[in-house]
């Protein structure tokens, strides 16, 4: 065939089954990777982010499981047994000290569970209070960011996809909410909602954590979705001009289908990253409010309220202040570092 270069004759050899040697070229040298796997691999390599993840997981597991087997509860005043006068020897214990009756038990050879961080001025085991405080802080951060995620994604994708008047109206609302001073509004709304909600949640499971935290969630739902929805809108605006959306529309796909199947999956990484970074900011807000006395209801502790209570006696009991402070900083720090790691691993624009 080589001699007649410009002939239209077809070479039958081109249509023969491939030989084994030729097939070797087609063998995959390594399995194809997906976007998710690729990102995970980068995340594993990032030591700082990985250690942060371990810290977060450890703290979370502790806050969930420790209260299950811990012999003391967060509200029990150990010196205050029913039918007996209050035993003051249980209050203000230093770490690993015991109350009078406990010391007697130890002398009798029994094993008494130690108060690792001592007790507070009401004779409550401080370790378990810190654990519960961590639990509250983490829960607030987690649920608040889920609320923000859902509302922000829904509104942002609607606004970005439909455009026009819908977009205009939503974006003006976003502009207004964006320029509201958030902390003031949080305080204002949680005060007011707290007063209204107190009667509504009486007797339900929510009573223990208190109306302030519920109203904090409501405030998050009302105000904090805006930056998320702005982000999603921007993503959608650039994504909807892509060819695959055009082709989906050409084959008759409806708006909801395109949003759910094409647009949201393609901006999911941005969404998850900003949701992860939302958690520390929610924890900040909660501890801030608790510190001002507008957070969880007593006797339920939160890291902020523990620090706030400790402020009065910080000279004689510095560890009451230092422990919640360290825990909250550790949580926020590792969440921030992990969020940064996620962004580095999953944001394709930064991978160039």
């Amino acid at each position: 065939m080589q001699k007649k270069k410009f002939t239209f004759h077809i070479d039958p050899a081109d249509f023969m089954p491939a030989s084994d040697k030729e097939k070797e070229y087609m063998v995959q040298m390594r399995p194809s990777t997906t976007f998710f796997k690729d990102g995970m691999k980068r995340l594993y390599k990032n030591k700082v982010a990985f250690i942060s993840l371990i810290v977060i997981v450890l703290i979370t597991l502790m806050s969930i499981f420790v209260p299950m087997f811990w012999p003391y509860s967060y509200e029990a005043q150990l010196g205050n047994q029913p039918g007996k006068p209050v035993d003051p020897s249980y209050s203000n214990l230093a770490p690993f000290e015991y109350g009078k009756t406990e010391q007697k038990l130890i002398e009798q050879g029994e094993v008494v569970f130690p108060h690792i961080f001592g007790t507070d001025d009401h004779g409550r085991d401080y370790f378990i209070r810190v654990v519960y405080g961590t639990r509250i802080s983490l829960a607030v951060g987690f649920f608040a960011s889920i609320i923000v995620l859902i509302i922000g994604t829904a509104i942002g994708s609607i606004s970005g996809y439909f455009g026009g008047k819908v977009d205009l109206v939503i974006m003006r609302i976003v502009d207004v909410i964006y320029s509201l001073p958030d902390m003031l509004m949080v305080i204002l709304l949680s005060t007011v909602l707290g007063l209204t909600l107190d009667s509504a949640i009486e007797g339900t499971v929510f009573e223990a954590i208190g109306s302030n935290i519920i109203s904090l969630f409501i405030v998050f739902a009302l105000l904090y979705w805006v930056s998320m929805s702005r982000l999603i809108r921007g993503q959608i605006l650039s994504l909807r001009e892509q060819e695959y959306v055009l082709s989906a529309r050409a084959t008759g796909a409806k708006g909801r289908w395109i949003i759910a199947k094409h647009l949201i999956p393609n901006c999911i990484s941005v969404v998850i990253i900003s949701a992860a970074l939302q958690i520390p900011s929610a924890i900040f807000t909660e501890s801030y409010l608790s510190f001002l006395g507008l957070g969880v209801n007593a006797p339920m502790p939160s890291l902020g309220s523990l620090a706030s209570e400790a402020l009065n006696g910080y000279q004689s009991h510095p560890h009451w202040l230092v422990i919640p402070a360290v825990v909250i900083s550790l949580i926020v720090l590792s969440l921030n570092l992990f969020g940064d790691g996620l962004r580095d691993a999953f944001d394709p624009k930064l991978n160039a």
């Binding site: 003031l184 204002l188 007011v192 209204t196 402020l311 202040l321 900083s329």
Partner: protein, 306 residues
Amino acid sequence: MNSKTLFYIFKRVLLAIFTVWVVITATFFIMHAVPGGPFVGEKATTPAAQKAMEAKYGLDKPLIEQYFTYLGDIVFHFDFGPSLKQRGRMVIDIIFDGMQTSLVLGLFAAGISTLFGIILGAIAALRRNKLIDRIIMVITTAFVSMPSFIMGTLLLVTFANVLPTNGSSAGGMILPVVTLALYPMAYITRLTRSSMLDVLGQDYIRTARAKGVSGGRVIFGHALKNSLIPVLTYVGPMLAYIVTGSLVVEKIFSVPGIGRAFVNSITGRDYPLIMGTTIILATLIVIMNLLTDILYKVVDPRITLE
């Protein structure tokens, strides 16, 4: 200033006015949705006395009428009514009193944080991946992750014996100012660093170096000037927040500022004071945001306005 810029500014001012109106309206109706009313907690009030009190403060009129009176008083007389709990004082006077302290505190903190933030950020960027950069980044990361109340209490505990801790005296301002300044300083450092690294990679820096401009001129005349634009967008709103939002710091160091007035008004349910403080602080923040946006455009003509 072409007509497009003017139109943009006009639009932004309208939006700002609208936002302030939303704040006033929302605050008013939210506060009036509270069950009970302001005088419920009062000791020894007979129903008749309560009626008289409500009549005195105009609380017996229809809600919508109260709203327009309130709005009118604010717009035309800058009057937020009398305080309910601090008898004989007007809300606006209480706010101005607190404002003076908070303003001094905030301006000092903002100045310190901006100055040191930019310097540290520039050093970190110029010595990228060197030891000094690492140290600066570790410290600022720690500061950014620490809530202000923890920073404040830790400073209080550490320096309680060395420095005065009562915020109402002049020397007592040191710790609150430092507490207020640390977080924004850390943030500005990080912002300046990343923005400066970005600028240092630009072509015009290479051009400047290639044509023999001295190192100092490149850094100060080209790199630093251009990398400050993102910093500017942070400093504007920060100034407003630092002046208004130091609730926690004022509580820790018992500074008699506006933040403490706000917290006290909430725990004391002093309705007109809550509303007045919210509205004034919100307005300040809105104005600062507006100025930042406009300034942003003036400083960097490349930025296109929507």
